[in-house]
């Protein structure tokens, strides 16, 4: 098959983007490395949310809770139980994935609005537990988390964490990209489009939903752990409704069911947050306005617009 030009451009752009991210820590200040790191973590989060909300069409928004569980589990194991970060981090992500499978259970029965309400409630309950389990979590004041042990790697810790996030992102993108192009990806698509038809086509709705929620939880849990060691601090404020809406914005603005969308959405939102950081009221208004305009004028987000202009960029649902 002859590759269409825009697709080649996109591929080069992706390679160039990764190359830029790989050398960036040597070019810019440590603060900017920190911001880029936050950006990378948010791309992972947007990908994780997009997996459930976009690809599988389940209007579940428990991601912030998964992220929080990953962060708190990692942080508590490291600070209270003296575990190494390298064991505590995956442990936190696995716990988030396990909770993800639990959240998938109501999703078997509820859909649309009700699923949204119950998952939002779940996020707020998890946030409430972080806030009130003071003996464990330090309540609203949170607790500090040390840098991971990089075994004498001769670069600053901030840069090392940055590369860890970048590697995690690339791994996550690789897995999700291959997954949505597989039979599993097409089952997800069927769940999103016509859930009642899925069983008739021999798709096991139960295992498919559980698997996609678990994977989403795993990615969000990994991102949560990275977020904690990047900020070197964990407090409940980061796992609240605002974070949920920001992630929702990333997916809606970037594009539902699109990896490109997750990348673009997260980048624009993080940039916006950095620029408007000083004006709290204004930035809430800006987020709301952007989200509303996107939904009204570009229901499929920026990626939808790009794919409309260059149909060859449409994401593959099968292996080439």
């Amino acid at each position: 098959m002859i590759m269409a030009r825009p697709e080649r451009v996109l591929r080069y752009a992706a390679v160039a983007g990764v190359a830029v991210l790989a050398v960036a820590p040597w070019m810019v200040s440590l603060y900017k490395v920190h911001v880029l790191n936050i950006l990378i973590i948010n791309i992972i989060l947007a990908t994780s949310l997009n997996l459930v909300m976009g690809y599988a069409g389940q209007f579940a928004k428990a991601n912030v809770a998964f992220m929080g569980l990953g962060a708190y589990t990692m942080g508590l194991l490291v600070t209270r139980a003296d575990w190494s970060f390298w064991i505590a981090w995956p442990a936190g992500a696995l716990l988030a994935a396990a909770v993800g499978t639990l959240v998938a259970l109501p999703a078997l029965r509820l859909r649309g609005l009700y699923l949204a309400i119950i998952t939002i409630s779940f996020v707020l309950i998890v946030h409430w537990s972080f806030l009130h389990a003071r003996f464990l979590t330090g309540g609203a004041s949170g607790f500090s988390v040390p840098h991971p042990n990089y075994f004498g790697l001769p670069i600053p810790n901030i840069q090392a964490t940055y590369y860890l996030s970048l590697l995690t992102l690339l791994g996550a993108m690789w897995i999700v990209r291959n997954l949505v192009a597989s039979g599993f990806g097409r089952s997800l698509l069927c769940l999103a489009e016509q859930e009642l038809v899925a069983p008739a086509l021999g798709i096991n709705v139960f295992t498919t939903k559980i698997a996609v929620f678990a994977l989403s939880g795993l990615l969000a849990g990994l991102a949560g752990g990275l977020h904690a060691v990047t900020l070197q601090f964990i407090d409940p404020q980061n796992f609240w409704l605002l974070q949920l809406v920001v992630q929702l914005c990333m997916v809606a603005l970037g594009g539902v069911a699109s990896l490109l969308g997750s990348v673009l959405g997260a980048s624009i939102m993080i940039l916006l947050i950095e620029v408007l950081r000083a004006f709290k009221g204004l930035w809430e208004f800006a987020i709301g306005a952007i989200l509303l305009l996107t939904i009204v004028f570009f229901p499929r987000g920026i990626a939808g617009l790009v794919e409309h202009l260059f149909p060859s960029l449409r994401e593959r649902r099968h292996r080439p």
């Binding site: 509820l110 309400i117 709301g288 939904i295 009204v296």
Partner: protein, 290 residues
């Protein structure tokens, strides 16, 4: 103690019922869940505060603040609902979340240097009424009373007037309503205006017994959501009864188990109801169509 808690639970619950009623009206009539409903409540409280701070009496401030939120409801209908009339439920949910952030941003900016928490002047003196040994706050009595009167008036309006019947017709079947000559778009506008009116009314009524602050919309949203879910999301009577039960449950929980549980009562109700009986107490069963 039990009866004290019951009394304040009923008073607060009637306000939750009022907020939930506004939400259910919009859901039943326009098939949209208004996630900005809490912000409408908060806007009314803040506008009412500004007016009373500038020397306008309680009832005058109430009327003007409710007018403001009614207009806000019309703006939401025009700006966010109408352009998305044929879009998915998901798009509508996201749109109202977006609107809620826009309103919250504007309100927060308007607080300016006032600080984050302001106190609304009370309607009456603070000494409570004691009836048969039960403590009842005078304000609770008035607020609960006004809320109940409003709900009854609304029920009569919905059941008896021509406009109310047109709204019923549109919520039953909008194509058929259009076919018999009802201006469906105009009815949608009324539905949003009316829903916001109810939310705003509750905001000004409740403001004197709580602090007014920019983020106050969230907790009322959760509670009235819980009330609406408990009552069944598409039942008007269910919203009112759900509100009362929610108020009583919350007061009992905070009275006997500790105030920190007051925040979580709403979530607990939502999750339990959705897991056990998603259609609530009075709601109609959701049908799945291909």
């Amino acid at each position: 103690m039990f009866f004290d808690l019951l009394a304040s639970g009923i008073a607060l619950g009637s306000i939750y019922g009022l907020v939930a009623l506004g939400m259910v009206v919009v859901y039943k009539g326009a098939r949209a869940v208004n996630f900005a409903h809490g912000e409408i409540f908060a806007t009314a409280a803040f506008v009412g505060y500004l007016l009373t701070a500038n020397g306008i009496g309680y009832w005058g401030a109430l009327t003007l603040a409710v007018l403001v939120t009614t207009i806000l409801g019309i703006l939401i209908e025009r700006g966010a609902y109408r352009p998305l009339a044929n879009a998915s439920d998901l798009a509508l949910i996201i749109a109202t979340i977006a609107v809620s952030f826009m309103i919250k941003g504007v309100v927060r900016t308007s607080y300016g240097t006032r600080g984050d928490f302001v106190a609304y002047p009370p309607i009456f003196s603070f000494d409570p009424l004691i009836i048969q040994g039960v403590f009842i706050q005078r304000q609770h009595l008035v607020l609960g009373g006004v809320a109940v009167v409003c709900m009854v008036l609304f029920g009569l309006f919905f059941a008896l007037t021509r406009h109310g019947k047109m709204m019923q017709a549109v919520s039953e079947d909008k194509e058929a309503a259009a076919l018999v000559g009802i201006n469906v778009r105009l009815v949608f506008l009324w539905i949003w205006a009316l829903g916001s009116l109810l939310g705003g009314l509750a905001g000004v009524l409740m403001a004197p017994i709580i602090l007014v602050y920019p983020d106050m919309g969230l907790s009322i949203l959760v509670k009235s959501f819980a009330a609406a879910v408990l009552g069944g999301f598409d039942s008007l009577a269910g919203a009112v009864i759900g509100g009362l039960l929610m108020g009583i449950f919350e007061q009992m929980l905070s009275g006997y188990a500790g105030t920190m549980f007051q925040d979580i009562a709403g979530f607990a109700v939502i999750i339990l109801v959705l897991l056990v009986r998603p259609s609530g107490l009075f709601g109609s069963k959701e049908q799945t169509r291909v």
